[in-house]
């Protein structure tokens, strides 16, 4: 196996480089999953309460269908977002250690040593698949320690690891296709997104006895989910996932022997001989437009999806007198749907903050790649350079949120025959997320301005806010913890009342922190 020579050395290199990140992810995901058992067991002790909680159409879109009423099944259902995160992390890890290495030229350096043709791919896959296996074992032990049955605990481990394995293989294929790591990531994450949407659409349709339930069988996420841990424990679906992984890895290997190191299968086209880019803003547009388009389309799809199911939420709840009464107090069926839509808007806002941070950190990418030097050696000032990027990190999320609001307004408005009324309400609700999004962008600017080496820490902002959002949605949380998140201080729209105070305060914080960051940027060495 000469083509695998050097794999063990590369594995050690990857483990050395990821020795902090990978363990953190594994421990974090296992801890969150295990902690849900007690939390949700206490909150929903009876099968009845569990079914009622899980019949929410929004939840079905997010997490899938509840397969049975035992505590294990209930918790597995509520954890439905975790496999998607595992898939995402697996994709990013594989691409980081394959295509990124090639794009930066490091692969060439290593490839000239005694390293076989397939060693890089083999090492990246070994580490990623191994990490998923470790996660699965820890998860099974953790779940079993909470007095859940052993067979089901093994089955949920297989569900999680299987999703991770399959998308690691998707990442491996995507890494062969394009010479650009960004494009490869786009292809793989797009596949994950498509799998998620197919799963959501199929599950929603199945729950309302619609005709589209078969859609979910197109989604690898659903295959793993349909194992139904703690219920039927359908092991053969685990075998299906494994087989799909093997096929995808074979495809990746097949593709990789058909291309040169550093190139992709999708050809590089020739560009124009003369350019019409002539300003930092034009350059920023070139660098950000792909990201902006991808996020805008993604947000529009989210809006369509949630807008489409919103009416069903009201229909389903109306059959239940208890819930009906509770929501009457909140303003009747429309109040119920509004609170669902407001929850969706919060989710969309949280995701938009991740986009804002990603776009802000493009400046750091430009800096550490050395591309900022020739630009700043022209008559472009640091302010102009930063401002042209910030146009996209501040207004980009606004455009994406607008797309979500418009799509949701159209879909929900069409469902209840009131487009004219719903469109402006939902656009307003989407844009109301912006002050909180901008606060997180401003924090990223400040970290980039003062502590450029720590720029990645900016991701803590959206991650913490998403965690606070996820946890406080299900469990009573101390108010000081909830108050950390700027999203807590936004009005609950549509439906809620708007007070200007908190919005103005958030905007003021964003402006002050953001400007402070720009001053830091002006004063420091660049690149640093």
């Amino acid at each position: 196996m000469k083509t695998l020579a050097g794999t063990s050395g590369l594995i050690r290199l990857i483990l050395r480089r990821d020795r902090i990140v990978l363990p953190i992810w594994i421990v974090f995901l296992v801890a969150i999953s295990v902690s849900y058992v007690k939390q949700y067991g206490d909150l929903f002790p009876t099968p009845d309460s569990r079914v009622k909680y899980a019949s929410n159409a929004g939840f079905i879109t997010l997490y899938g269908e509840l397969s049975g009423t035992s505590l294990g099944e209930f918790v597995t259902w509520r954890l439905g977002f975790v496999p998607v995160m595992i898939g995402l992390i697996s994709i990013l890890t594989v691409i980081r250690h394959t295509r990124v290495e090639e794009e930066t030229g490091r692969r060439e350096l290593l490839g000239a040593t005694v390293v076989g043709r397939h060693a890089q791919l083999a090492a990246a896959l070994t580490v990623t698949l191994g990490a998923n296996l470790v996660l699965a074992i820890l998860l099974a032990l953790g779940m079993h320690s909470q007095n859940l049955p052993l067979s089901g605990s093994i089955a949920i481990g297989i569900e999680y690891a299987g999703t991770g394995w399959l998308f690691a293989a998707v990442g491996a294929v995507a890494a062969q296709l394009s010479a650009s790591a960004g494009t490869a990531r786009g292809i793989a994450i797009g596949t994950l997104g498509a799998a998620y949407i197919l799963r959501a659409a199929g599950d929603t349709s199945a729950h309302t006895h619609g005709p589209l339930a078969w859609l979910r069988w197109l989604s690898p996420i659903a295959w793993a989910q349909q194992i139904h841990p703690y219920g039927q424990n359908r092991w053969w679906l685990g075998v299906l996932v494994l087989a799909a992984t093997v096929v995808l890895v074979a495809v990746a290997i097949y593709l990789s022997v058909r291309r040169d190191v550093g190139s992709g299968l999708l050809p590089d086209k020739l560009g124009p001989a003369d350019g019409n880019l002539g300003s930092p803003l034009a350059l920023a547009w070139r660098l950000h437009r792909g990201l902006l388009a991808a996020w805008t389309v993604g947000f529009a799809l989210l809006g369509l999806l949630f807008g489409g199911v919103a009416k069903g939420v009201g229909d389903m709840m109306r059959d239940d007198p208890g819930i009906q009464e509770a929501f009457q107090r909140m303003g009747g069926a429309s109040g119920l749907i509004d609170s669902f839509l407001a929850g969706v808007m919060l989710l969309v806002g949280l995701i938009a903050s991740a986009y804002a941070v990603q776009a802000t950190l493009r400046m750091r990418v430009e800096e550490s790649s050395g591309r900022v030097e020739p630009v700043l050696a022209t008559a472009t000032s640091r302010w102009q350079w930063a401002a042209s990027h910030l146009v996209f990190s501040l207004l980009g999320p606004a455009v994406a949120l607008l797309a979500a609001g418009v799509a949701e307004g159209l879909a929900y408005g069409a469902a209840i025959g009131d487009v004219g009324g719903q469109l402006p309400r939902l656009i307003g609700a989407a844009l109301a997320q912006l002050p909180a999004v901008w606060v997180l962008a401003a924090i990223a600017i400040a970290i980039f301005g003062f502590f450029p080496q720590l720029s990645m820490v900016s991701w803590a902002g959206p991650v913490i806010c998403i965690l606070i959002g996820l946890v406080s949605a299900g469990v009573a949380t101390a108010s000081w913890i909830r108050d950390i998140s700027p999203f807590t201080h936004l009005p609950s729209l549509p439906g809620g009342s708007v007070t200007a105070g908190p919005l103005i305060a958030l905007l003021a914080i964003a402006i002050v922190v953001g400007f402070a960051g720009l001053i830091g940027l002006r004063r420091r060495d660049l690149p640093a």
Binding site: E103, A179, S180, D268, K269, L270, G271, P272, A273, D274, G275, N276, L277, G278, S279, P280, A282, L283, R286, L287, S369, G370, R371, E373, P374, V375, L376, A377, T378, A379, T380, S381, R523, R524, D525, L526, P527
Partner: protein, 298 residues
């Protein structure tokens, strides 16, 4: 005319390491100034300070009679920079990158750009990803040479070029310096390049200038090696100052002599009587090797 670049006592530290430790550098207007020194001597750090990207901890720097930090934007209209390690935007073509940099500096001369592309044999339609190191460097060089600026800061600009392109580079630098009177600061390791292009050089080691002057001035700092067949015994030679590594075998002596001490030594030789004499002038290589060595710092 004031000097194009002058720095005094520049100090810059990165944590524990001192990249610059009191650097003095003067580049006169209109000259091509060689900037030499071993790896890690502080050349790139100096150029970054001159560009206003890095701020010196101590000392003063003036570029084109402005402050490189606070007047950065205005100064950059009048200068161009070629980094040693050129990275470009992977999805922009070379032509787009050249035009972008030119426009942000204040304008591109289309005719000049076309001429340079031709001379450097560069296909501007390729995406940056598809360029080799040398071709990326050509993109930066064309962008710099095509702009109408007074000062060029070139940081090891030819490290990836083939000999043919190296020749083109020399021609272009000579043209812009002779015909157009522009100032060039050229950091380089290639001695023949420095010898062919530079009016004056500054040699820097461990963040300090160890020598500065024209090449012939610097040559005086080195030793000439002498072989002679003498008529009589080599009395008194060893005692003369400036004589090193004296060896004798069979009536022939060999030694090195400090170039500025050559006259008294020759007098002594003729006094003894010379049958034959071979003298070898110092080579630039020797000069640099000596100045690059750690002991060279006085």
């Amino acid at each position: 005319m004031p000097a194009a670049i002058s720095t005094e006592g520049l100090v810059k530290s990165f944590g524990q390491t001192y990249a610059l430790d009191g650097l003095d550098l003067t580049v006169e207007s209109g000259e091509v100034h060689g900037f030499l020194g071993p790896n890690g001597a502080g050349k790139t750090t100096t150029i970054r300070i001159l560009l206003g990207m890095t701020r010196a901890d101590e000392g003063t720097a003036r570029v084109l009679d402005g402050d490189p930090w606070s007047d950065a934007t205005d100064l950059h209209r009048r200068l161009a920079y070629v980094p040693g390690d050129v990275t470009l935007w992977p999805n922009l073509s070379g032509g787009e990158a050249i035009d972008l940099l030119g426009r942000m500096r204040g304008g591109v001369d289309k005719k000049r750009k076309a001429e340079l592309l031709e001379r450097f044999d560069l296909d501007p339609r390729k995406k940056a990803r598809a360029y080799s190191k040398g071709n990326r460097q050509k993109v930066a060089l064309v962008a710099a040479f095509a702009s109408d600026v007074e000062l060029l800061l070139l940081d090891e600009p030819t490290s990836g070029l083939d000999p043919l392109m190296e020749e083109v580079f020399r021609e272009v630098v000579q043209e812009i310096s002779d015909r157009e009177g522009r100032t060039v600061l050229l950091s380089s390791h290639i001695l023949s390049e420095v010898e062919a292009l530079c009016d004056r050089v500054t040699i820097i080691r461990s963040g300090r200038a160890v020598e500065s002057g024209t090449l012939s001035e610097l040559r005086h700092l080195t030793r000439t090696s002498i072989q002679a067949e003498l008529v009589g015994p080599m009395n008194g030679l060893a005692q003369l100052s400036g004589v090193h590594d004296l060896r004798e075998d069979d009536g022939r002596v060999r030694f090195d002599v400090d170039t500025d001490q050559i006259n008294p030594v020759l007098r002594q030789l003729t006094e003894i009587g010379v049958r034959s004499l071979v003298s070898q002038p110092p080579s630039l290589e020797e000069l640099f090797l000596r100045l690059y060595e750690p002991e060279a710092v006085k």
